[in-house]
């Protein structure tokens, strides 16, 4: 357990185009009582801009975790994943693919592109909250993340 880390708010980037889903995720995080700053971008292009601190995202904080949906407008989630994991600096950031798809090929593709994990969003709200709680617990309490440079 890394006690120092608990003090700081965790930065989470949520890449999700559906506002309904965004709100749900927010509520779930609220219920989970993980202290975090949840930043949201609506498509793949913005996601990359945010990560590279381009344009209006010049002051963006480096996320500790990226929650990435696969089906995004403009730039597809798989492409974003690929770009992140090929970038020497960005590839250290854990990416959790969060999507409704259960498709085998999506799972395999995501892991092939070096996603850190693949989560199928449960339909049931309570289950969703549990997942989010577990996410937070795992990535921020159990796991050791690299120090930011």
């Amino acid at each position: 357990m890394n006690n120092e880390k608990v003090l700081r708010h965790t930065e989470i980037l949520l890449v999700e185009d559906n506002p309904g889903d965004v709100r749900l995720t927010l509520e779930a995080f609220k219920e989970s009582k993980i202290r975090n700053n949840l930043h949201v971008v609506g498509d793949g292009v913005e996601a990359i801009e945010y990560l590279r601190k381009q344009g209006r995202y010049a002051d963006a904080a480096r996320p500790d975790l990226i929650l990435l949906d696969l089906n995004l407008p403009k730039k597809d989630g798989r492409e974003v994943l690929k770009e992140i994991k090929e970038d020497p600096i960005l590839k250290r950031i854990p990416v959790a693919v969060m999507t409704t798809s259960k498709a085998e090929e999506d799972i395999i593709k995501s892991y092939d592109l070096h996603a850190n994990c693949y989560i199928t969003k449960p339909i049931d709200l309570n289950q969703f909250i549990t997942v989010v709680k577990s996410l937070g617990n795992f990535w921020f309490s159990i796991v050791t993340l690299p120090l930011e440079e």
Binding site: N18, D21, L24, T100, E104, K121, I123, D124, L125, F128
Partner: protein, 624 residues
């Protein structure tokens, strides 16, 4: 009328010949001519016998044979008559006019009697009595009796001349009887000819009448008598020749011709009316025959093409090499049949045909030409094309439907999730904070949405069986089984289920779908349990060309009247409150099994557990 005139002419003619002869001959030669005529008569009589005897083998005509035998006897007796003439050397008893005449009389009488008897004899009368051995023996016996009686008991013979030189009463009586019998026989033959139409026998009548005249004038005009006798015998010979030699051969030839004609007719009929074009050519490709169907299919008439080269008419220019190859194959003995080809019609259009090409051989079995049987298969080709088009349509339509189902389910999931989740959020946040009605409403809404969501999820899984099915590869069923059971871990634990299995084989399958199959079936077995903890067994055995799997449980069972329905989409036998589930599981199982070319069915009894059977074909190379 003709008959009588002809007879008269012959009789008078011959009579005069004899008369003239007699008048102008020196008495010394007279004896020799008499001898010669006598022998000639014997010769004719014997030749009648010989002819009928030898012809009997082919003709089997008892009538001819009988008459032949009669003439044998007559011949023998006439021979003795000739040798008994006074100027001939004596034998046994001294020759005399009496001796000679007695023999003569006997021969005439015997002939007349036998002639009369022959009227009643037909081709197949009394086969036991009228055959060669019997008749020959009878003839010899009869002749012997006549000869012996005359030679050894001359005293009992009647005299011929009265003391005054005229014919004795006995002779006249004999002549009279002989004549009457012969004429009567002739009359009966006339009746027989009328009745049976045996025209050749008319010569017998000629013969008999002439013989009668010969008998009557013999004592006064010896030569004419002799000549008339020979003439009469000649007509008998003619009659018997026609009936025992000519007629049978004629009949045979006619019958053969008829058969040949009939066979040719039959062949012609077949050839002309065959539905397919039948064309024959020689080995130089010159057309030798061209039937009606060929005229119809190709548009050339028989006159246009016979004698010309086949290739120049019906073989399309670019297919000459193919044609040569086909013909060579046929000549070398290969079976060339049912080949699809294209031929050229008179109007320049191509026609799709089915070809059968074979050798034509002659009686010595050497190849003399080629026969082509050509069928217009335009209709068949069209039918095939339509069928293919329909099939392609179906496949396309099917694929489209599957894709549609998949996409629809996939895209429906997302908005549904919104409904379900937010309803649940409201439920969570505001339960108890609104009135009781609101709580109830929210409950129903959430429930409905959740169910719909599950339905769509299942529908998606169902359509994925086809669309996302992976190509088959060797799959270990044991591994698939284990995978499925581990997926069901929670249910297994909760229910305390005990799952056993036979050794499971390897099969050609989509491994993911196999896991799904086992999972659905075992999951059902666990779900539909009674108060006992579930005991489930997976069996596997070979049956014909398939592996037969069984999933046996001790659960609640089902009524066999629903055995088909449960495999339908969204079909359930229980209310949602009793057992959860959308009714899709077995439909997915069936789709998976059918994709693997297998069958799935159930055997069960309410309260007595259930057995699900399914088959998967045995891996190639492992078949018995």
């Amino acid at each position: 009328m003709n008959l009588i005139l002809k007879l008269l002419a012959i009789i008078i003619g011959v009579f005069f010949a004899g008369y003239v002869h007699a008048a102008g001959i020196v008495s010394l030669l007279k004896d020799y001519i008499e001898l010669f005529a006598g022998i000639l008569m014997v010769f004719v009589a014997f030749s009648i016998f010989a002819m009928t005897w030898y012809a009997y083998g082919k003709s089997g005509d008892n009538h001819s044979l009988f008459l032949g035998a009669a003439f044998l006897i007559t011949g023998i007796l006439s021979l003795l008559h000739t040798f008994s003439a006074p100027f001939m050397p004596d034998f046994i008893i001294p020759n005399s006019i009496e001796k000679s005449t007695i023999f003569w009389g006997e021969s005439r009488l015997v002939l007349a009697l036998l002639f009369l008897a022959s009227v009643y004899i037909y081709k197949d009368t009394y086969p036991e009595l009228i055959n060669r051995p019997v008749l020959l023996a009878s003839a010899i016996v009869l002749s012997s009796i006549s000869i012996i009686s005359i030679l050894f008991y001359p005293a009992y013979l009647p005299s011929i001349y009265d003391p005054d030189g005229s014919l004795s009463t006995g002779m006249i009586l004999m002549l009279f009887i002989t004549t009457a019998i012969t004429l009567y026989a002739g009359y009966l033959y006339a009746l027989r000819i009328k009745k049976t139409g045996q025209k050749n026998l008319v010569f017998l009548i000629y013969g008999s009448v002439i013989i009668v005249f010969s008998n009557l004038i013999y004592f006064y005009y010896e030569f004419s008598g002799l000549f008339l006798m020979i003439t009469g015998f000649y007509f008998v010979h003619l009659a018997l020749y026609k009936s025992s030699v000519e007629l049978p051969y004629e009949k045979l030839a006619l019958a053969e011709e008829k058969l040949l004609h009939a066979a040719e007719e039959k062949y012609r009929n077949l050839f002309d009316h065959a539905n397919d074009a039948i064309i024959t050519s020689d080995l130089d490709d010159t057309i030798t025959s061209w039937n009606k169907s060929a005229e119809k299919i190709f548009g050339w008439s028989s006159q246009d093409v016979v004698g010309k080269k086949l290739s120049s008419f019906i073989v399309p220019p670019d297919l000459h090499a193919t044609r040569d190859r086909i013909v060579n194959d046929a000549i070398s003995g290969m079976v060339v049949s049912g080949i699809d080809a294209v031929c050229l019609r008179r109007d320049g259009k191509n026609v799709d045909v089915g070809l059968t090409v074979s050798q034509l051989r002659d009686a010595n079995l050497s190849i003399i030409g080629i026969s082509y049987i050509i069928r217009d298969i335009t209709e068949r080709k069209q039918a095939e094309a339509t069928l293919k088009k329909t099939m392609d349509e179906l496949v396309r339509s099917n694929t489209e439907l599957e894709q549609f189902a998949y996409i629809a389910s996939h895209d429906l999931q997302e908005p549904l999730r919104m409904v379900v989740s937010y309803m649940q959020l409201i439920e969570k946040r505001y339960k108890g904070k609104l009135d009781a009605d609101a709580d109830e409403f929210i409950d129903y809404a959430v429930d409905g949405a959740t169910r719909m969501q599950r339905l769509i999820s299942d529908l998606l899984a169902y359509s994925r069986v086809g669309i996302h099915g992976k190509p088959f590869e060797t799959t270990d069923c044991e591994a698939a089984f284990n995978h499925a059971v581990s997926n069901l871990e929670i249910a297994v634990e909760e229910s305390g289920a005990v799952i056993t299995h036979d050794p499971l084989p390897g099969v050609m399958a989509d491994s993911g779908q196999l896991v799904q199959l086992f999972q659905n079936l075992i999951g059902n077995a666990i779900k539909f349990r009674n108060e006992n903890s579930p005991k489930i067994h997976i069996g596997a055995s070979r049956k014909g060309g398939d592996w037969l799997f069984s999933v046996i449980d001790n659960g609640i069972g089902l009524d066999m009247q629903y055995a088909e329905r449960i495999f339908g989409i969204f079909q359930r036998l229980h209310g949602k409150k009793e057992y959860p589930g959308s009714g899709m599981g077995l439909a997915i199982c069936r789709k998976i099994v059918e994709r693997h070319s297998g069958r799935i069915w159930v055997e069960s009894e309410p309260g007595k557990g259930t057995i699900f059977y399914f088959t998967i074909p045995i891996k190639r190379g492992e078949e018995i």
